[in-house]
Amino acid sequence: MAESPFKEDIERVQKEYSEKMTLGAVAVIPGSSVVNKTGSWRVFMPEFNKDKCVRCFLCYIYCPEPAIYLDEENYPVFDYDYCKGCGICANECPTKAIVMVRETK
């Protein structure tokens, strides 16, 4: 499993982030939005079938978050911490290698 390309940033923010209120609610740590794990908003989650994947990168290109990155073999990896389950990747996938399934938590 490949690592998130944002791993360093996420770790830095998690280390520096404080909930302490600032004047004018100014966010003083760049990139602090990563503490808000938007994956918790998800209702449907993308399910990936590697056998059908042709490595066209369309899911990777279209993901608005971006919560999809590529592993060493250029297969997509889904970051479920930030994937909101919008379904754009499944919609764009030409081989139906990605399908959205209702997530039960």
Partner: protein, 394 residues
Amino acid sequence: MPIRTVMKANEAAAWAAKLAKPKVIAAFPITPSTLVPEKISEFVANGELDAEFIKVESEHSAISACVGASAAGVRTFTATASQGLALMHEVLFIAAGMRLPIVVAIGNRSLSAPINIWNDWQDTISERDTGWLQFYAENNQEALDLILIAYKVAENEKVLLPAMVGFDAFILTHTVEPVEIPDQELVDEFLGEYEPKHAFIDPHNPITQGTLAFPAHYMETRYLLWKANEAAKKVIDEAFAEFEKRFGRKYQKVEEYRTDDADIILVTMGSLAGTVKDYVDRAREKGIKVGAAKMTVYRPFPVEEVRELAKKAKVIALLEKNITFSVGGALFQDFSRALVNEDEKPKLVDFILGLGGRDVTFQNLDEALSIAEKALRGEKVDEVNWIGLRKEIL
């Protein structure tokens, strides 16, 4: 040496802005405030004021440009009135929430419909919940002075809130009065350079302003605004004291006039305070124990000063050019809040008058005083009274 001259309140406001040396002025013309940005653009064009003058397409854009400039870390100024201030409404909350010390001059004017360009206080009073500081000038000199004081208070690190300074449409905006323009050097010493504390652009230390706050954080931002308004009370007193020391003109949040031994105190704001003080002199000659008080500061509401004032009278008559429908005037509500839990309190009688530029005459004040005297004698009177209504056309 200060220059003694004559000018309209609009010009006095423009001069105040020039003396405060804002770096960005963004404004859209509206009656009765148009002359303020007009005069400032003249200062900028003549090279007398080193600032960016942004001509915008609406008041919403004017205040938004001020928010942007203030967030970038510079002193900003604009002027508007009435519908223009109403159009700024949503951005006023943003300016306060982002804690940006923007100063806005307001030529206090009524709101449509029907369209009316004349004086009352409905425009600024309607913005009383935005978190902004509010000052009201009695005359043109006060318009100039209070804008300088507004910057001093707004930029104080214990406060960091935007401020509006109101002066009555036409009665002040277009009326020429003697005004002393203070020395630039003294103003520079009084205000100093604006040094942003939290809101500025530094490419080496990027920050995000105007962020999203979830329910877990939003309420704390409101509480901090509440605290800043509370802190502003002391800072305003200090600014008034320093201003008096440097420029010799005294200001108080609640200015009392002949209130000692008064049975009735007439409380008002803005230019009406001048009329009322004159009226009090005449009533005193007739032996009526009446005094006056002027609210120079309306937000933060000076609760403590109002409680002190209330101890001096048996009846407080609130003379106000604004109305909250089905409730009464804003001062009536705020005085009620200040006094509701006091053990001993005067009777409050509210008078709505002078709306939409209706002249407030001594006859009107006679009418108000006679109702207040009835209340003093223990007779039952209406809590909210409309004075100077033309009943014959109703």
